[in-house]
Each structure stands twice: as C-alpha cells, then as structure tokens.
Amino acid sequence: MPEIFNMLIASFIPLLFILIYAVVILWVEIKVASHVQDRLGYMYTGGFHGIAQPIADLLKLLTKEHITPANSDKIFFTLAPVLVFASSYAAYAALPFTSTFIAANLNVGIFYIIAITSFVVIGILMAGWSSNNKYSLLGAMRSVAQIVSYEIPTVLSILTVVVAVGTLNLQEICEIQKGGISSWNIFKYPPFMLITFLIYFTASLAEVNRTPFDIPEAESELVAGYHTEYTGMKFAMFYLAEYANMFLVSGIAAILFFGGWSSPFGKFLSSPGWGVFWFVSKGLFFVFLQIMLRWTLPRLRVDQLMYVSWKVLTPISFVNLMMVGLWAILK
C-alpha cells in the first residue's frame, strides 16, 4: 500500500511542476514577446504586469465549449490531445530534478525518454487526421515528417554524450558533472561537445515545433496546423504538452551538457534543495532561449527543414560522434 502511495506522490510532483511551470512560462512568453516588440503586453489582470493573466486564460479555456466537428473521427479526435500530453508527461518520470528526487531512476533513462516522446507523433497524426480538415492534415503530415527526421540528429547527439560519459542513466550523467562549471560535458572534447550541443538544441527546437521549425502549425500558411479544430480544454492540452515538451528538451539539454542539478560552483550551494533550483533555472534558461528565438526568426519551409535535418545536422553529428568516440578510445 505505501508503495502505491509513494508512486502516486512521485507521479504527482512532475504534474504539479508542469502546471505551475506552464502558467509561469505562458506569462514569460507573452511578456518577452511584447517587450521585444517594444510594447507592454498585458498589464491589468492580477496587478503587477498582468501576472494573473495566464490563470485567467486557463480558466477561460477550461470553461469553453468543446466543439467536435461533425465529420470528424470522434474517438481519435478526443484521444489525440490526451495521448500528446500523456507522452510528454510520461517522459518527466525519468527526469532527475535533484540528486534525491527522480520519479523513476532507470538504467536507460535517456533511452526511455527518447522512446516515450516519440508517441507525440502518433497523437499529432491522430489529431490531424481525425479533424477532417485539410489544413490539419497537412500540418500533421508535416509534423510527422519533421519529428521523425529530427529524431535522428537528436539521438545521434545524445549518443555522442553517452559515448563521452559512458552511461544511459540520467542521474549518473549528472553525478559525473558534479565538479562545477569546468566538469560540464559541454567543455569536454572541445569543440565537439559544443557542436553536439548546438545540434541537439537545433534538433530539439524542431522536435517541439518551435520557431524556426514551427511549420506544422505555421499560422500564416496552415491557420493552426493540426490543432485548428480544437477548442477548450482539448486545445489547452496541446498547449500544455507543447510547453511541457519545451521544458523537457531544455531539461535534457541541461542534464546532458550543463550538469543537470549540479551546482556550477562545485560544492558550493549543492544541497538537494539547491539542486532543484539549479536544474530548473538551467532548464528555464533554454526555454527562454527558445522563446527569444521564436520572436527573432522567420520560419523555414518544409523542404528546407528536411534539408537542415538530413544534409546538415545528421552528417555533422555523425562526424561528431566518430570524433568523440575516437578521442575517448585514444584517451
């Protein structure tokens, strides 16, 4: 009995984190967008700089009507957002928030995350297909092609790190980088790890459909892509999954290259409590970077996206992998 109880708590904490984080990051995204564009964004709800606006938005989405298009495939239509959210939520299980808290300390943690996030593709395809809308279908098709092809550079760059550290366990990867800034993976095997990080970051942008790779939901072409027909809470699920995914890939970037929950100052401020702080702030930094990129860049076209993946990222990450492997052997 207490085991089940423990499991419930362990699964509840990431959920709580996602919800709080989503509310915060929604606000940050809007505020960053507006300040980049020389405006103020929302200012009224909740006093200081519209701090309560995301909550109001969420409440609004919760109370909105659920519209299911008449000719849609109703079962898949309802199931799709759940699947999309569930798969990104499930990935949080293997994410080490600090040295003492990880919902499931798996031997093959990073492998598990790669596997489970692939489910997002199925959810998106389901959403696009079942909506019975041409724009949604095009968006879903693009999305599937995109995520499937960007899986390869992502995995290759993760593999490079794995070769360097020699483990698939995320907790252990963090342990290895414990000695402060200089022992972070990004500074190992210069400059190959840096390139690996750049490849991983670029590919992860595509995996979570962020600008400049947001073509599945390219609003000026496909209206809203696969979630054109979604309203209310179902739409909010997609939204939530997108933001959850953003942090997921950023968190993995932090773990793989920037020491995860370990303090940048070695032993200083390295208690488990601080660990959460370091991990979350590192993750949020990359989320912030993603947001900044979104408000800076135009988006690529679907074939250019494929070009970037297959002709730029994949070959370079192969070269990287080999170089790091050689170096590791020779060392």
């Binding site: 967008a33 980049v36 564009q37 020389d38 405006r39 041409k134 724009y135 095009l138 693009r142 600008t211 400049p212 947001d214 073509i215 390219a218 609003e219 000026s220 072409e221 496909l222 209206v223 408000w295 800076t296 860049l297 135009p298 988006r299 690529l300 076209r301 679907v302 074939d303 250019q304 070009y307 970037v308 730029v312």
Partner: protein
C-alpha cells in the same frame, strides 16, 4: 541551407495519387484581407491557383457617378488603397486638374510630394512588416508599425485623420502644414534610417528569410510587362520604370533620387527577395526626396487655386501616378455640364499585379505561395474597389 531546386510535379509512377483542392481564404491569416484562392495542390506542391476576388467590392465606380460633385469622390478614393490613401487622392486630383487645365501653386505641389513620399514609406513599412509576418517573423512587423505610427502622427497633425485623409483637394489642400510639422518631420528623418537598419539586420539579411524568398516566384521582365505589372513588382524584375522619373508629375523632376531595381543579389532577378528589397530601398529614396522637398519648400497659400466649382470641360483623361503599389490610374470622362463625373474608372495597381499570381506560383509549395502573395503586396480594398 543552400538554394534548392524546385520540382514541378512529384513523380507518380504506378501509385495512384490525386490532386486536392484547398481553399485559402476568404478568411485566412495571410491573404491580407478577403482574397480567396482556390489552390489545386499535389501534396504540398501547387498545381494551379485560381483567385476569386470581389469580397470587398464597394461599387466605387458607381458611387463616383452618383456623387453630386467631384470633391465628394475623394473620400471614396481614399478607401481604395486604404494604406496609401494619400497616393490615391493625389492620382485622382491630378487627373481632375489635368482635365480642367488647372495650375496649382508651387507650395501645394511640394507639400503633395512630401505627403506622397511619406505615404510611400508608411505603405512600404506595412508591406515589409506583413511580409515578415507571412514568413513567421512577428517582431519586425511591430517594429515597422512603430515607425509607421510616427508618419501617421505627422498626417494627423496636418489634416486630422490618420488613415483616410481627404487632404489633397482639387486645386489645393485642405490645410496648410501646421507649425510643428517641420520639427516632427526632422525627428522622423533622423530616427528612421536607424530603425530601417534594425529591420534590415533582423529580417532582410537573415539567412532563413533569404532562403524562404530568394529564387521563389520568379517573374521575368517580359512577363511582368505583358501582365501590366507596375511598381515594385515591375522594378523587382529589373525593369527600371518609375513614373516619377519616366513621366514626371508634380515637381518630381527637381529631385535627385534613384530608382531601385531588382538585381538578383540573393538569387534570380525578379524573385520575392528582389521585390521585397526594392521596397526597402525605395523607402531610403523616399527619405531623400522628402529631405530635398522640405529644403526647397516655398512659402505661399495652399487655398488660392481651389476653384469654387469643379466643373471640367467635356472630355476625358487618363492620368497615372506612382503609388506605393504601382501605377494607379484614373480614367475620368466628364460630360461638360454636370458637376459629377460621367464615368470614373480606377486602374488599381494591386488588381493588375494580382492577376499575375497564378503565373508565378505554379510549381511551388504552399508555404511559397504565402511568400509570393506577400511579395505581390496587395490591398484588397484596391483590388475589389
């Protein structure tokens, strides 16, 4: 991310595939209004485009015939190309003045030039900004709007309206320039180049932006002329034709300025990037014209030549000027005795420019169509009139 080759049709082999008809618009984020495009697509590749227009048809020509005098047509003319209303007024008023054989004072002509060029900058800012928006870059759009606001402020202190001015009248202007106009104009002239440079850095020379627009929607010069394209659309194809130079009206022959043409700097001559960059360069040239015009601005009265009754003799005129979007022409027939025009035909640049869209977008992808449509830069108020 090098330039890539366009495959016109996918290879089919034995697989049975079918084209799909996709309705883009009348409600769509990137059709710039209520344009409906019927796309025949093969996957993502466009086989054919059939534009359907007329959703914003407001019977401008019929209205113009029903008015009680020539002056009343001007507010309607404003509403054709509603982001470049000054240019429309100018064309209409110059046509009527030519029909009447009216001479206007120098000061009026200079102010008209300043207004028309300010309007050109404002309109091009909108075109550049929304083009970024079409390609997914949101920020340049609002930066452009920030600059455009300054021009609209200038217009507002001059004539009281921000968008639809009714400022240029037959024989003169509704108001003279206000006293604070000079200072505000100088402020704008000083800050604008910096803002333009920022937009260039952020958008124009961004590699992703170039990849999205270079070699896309190539319009060869002979096709452009045959389709009657004008303005940045024609100049983007490398034809050095600008009515301000080739058929100078007002006092344009007294200013020094370049006519930017597409050079194929990032791809082929006449692609979307060229058309876009012509607009950016034109803004710089307009700045030059404004600076010169402001220096030469003579004193005088702007109301002195306004006739009591506008009653042109029997005859007809086709007069064209260079609007931000191209050649705007008014064909006016006067029957000589009534105070309202017998027939007004507006040759709207967007209307003609849009007709080339199917020709230049076949074989590209849906995302490219958005880029091409954005680079044509239509205003539906003018297409449908």
């Amino acid at each position: 991310m090098a330039t890539f080759e366009i495959t016109t049709r996918s290879v089919r082999g034995d697989l049975k595939t079918d084209t799909m008809i996709l309705n883009m618009g009348p409600q769509h984020p990137s059709t710039h209004g209520v344009l409906r495009l019927e796309l025949v697509v093969d996957g993502e590749i466009i086989v054919d485009v059939i534009p359907h227009i007329g959703y914003l048809h407001r019977c401008f020509e019929k209205h113009a015939e029903q008015m009680t005098n020539y002056q009343q047509v001007i507010p309607y003319v404003d509403r054709m190309d509603y982001v470049a209303a000054m240019g429309n007024e100018l064309a209409y008023v110059l046509a009527v003045e030519k029909l009447m054989g009216l001479e206007v004072p120098e000061r009026v002509q200079y102010i008209r030039v300043i207004m028309a060029e300010l309007q050109r900058i404002a309109s091009h800012l909108l075109a550049v900004g929304t083009y970024g928006l079409d390609l997914g870059a949101f920020t340049p759009f609002l930066w452009c709007f920030r600059e455009r606001e300054k021009i609209l402020d200038l217009f507002e202190i001059t004539c009281g309206a921000r968008l639809l001015y009714n400022y240029i009248w037959v024989g003169g202007l509704s108001h003279d320039l206000p006293s604070e106009f000079g200072k505000k104009l100088k402020d704008f002239l000083k800050t604008f180049p910096k803002a333009l440079k920022e937009i260039n850095d952020l958008l124009t020379f961004n590699k992703i932006f170039i990849d999205r627009t270079a070699n896309i929607g190539v319009l060869p010069p002979d096709v452009a002329i045959n389709y009657g394209c004008s303005g940045p659309m024609l100049r983007g194809s490398g034809v050095k034709f600008d009515l301000r130079k080739n058929e100078p009206y007002l006092v344009y022959d007294r200013f020094e300025f370049d006519v930017p043409v597409g050079e194929g700097k990032m791809g082929t001559v006449g692609d979307c990037w060229d058309r876009y960059y012509v607009r950016v360069r034109e803004m710089e040239e307009s700045l030059k014209i404004i600076e010169q015009a402001w220096e030469q601005l003579p004193p005088g009265d702007v109301h002195s030549a306004i006739p009591k009754k506008v009653r042109p003799p029997q005859g007809e005129v086709y007069f064209r000027t260079e609007n931000p979007r191209g050649e705007i022409g008014f064909y006016i027939i006067s029957d000589g005795h009534s105070a309202s025009p017998f027939r007004v035909k507006a040759r709207a640049p967007s209307f003609v420019n849009l007709s080339v869209l199917p020709e230049i977008s076949r074989g590209y992808m849906i995302a490219d169509l958005v880029a091409i449509l954005g680079s044509v830069d239509i205003v539906l108020g003018e297409v449908d009139r």
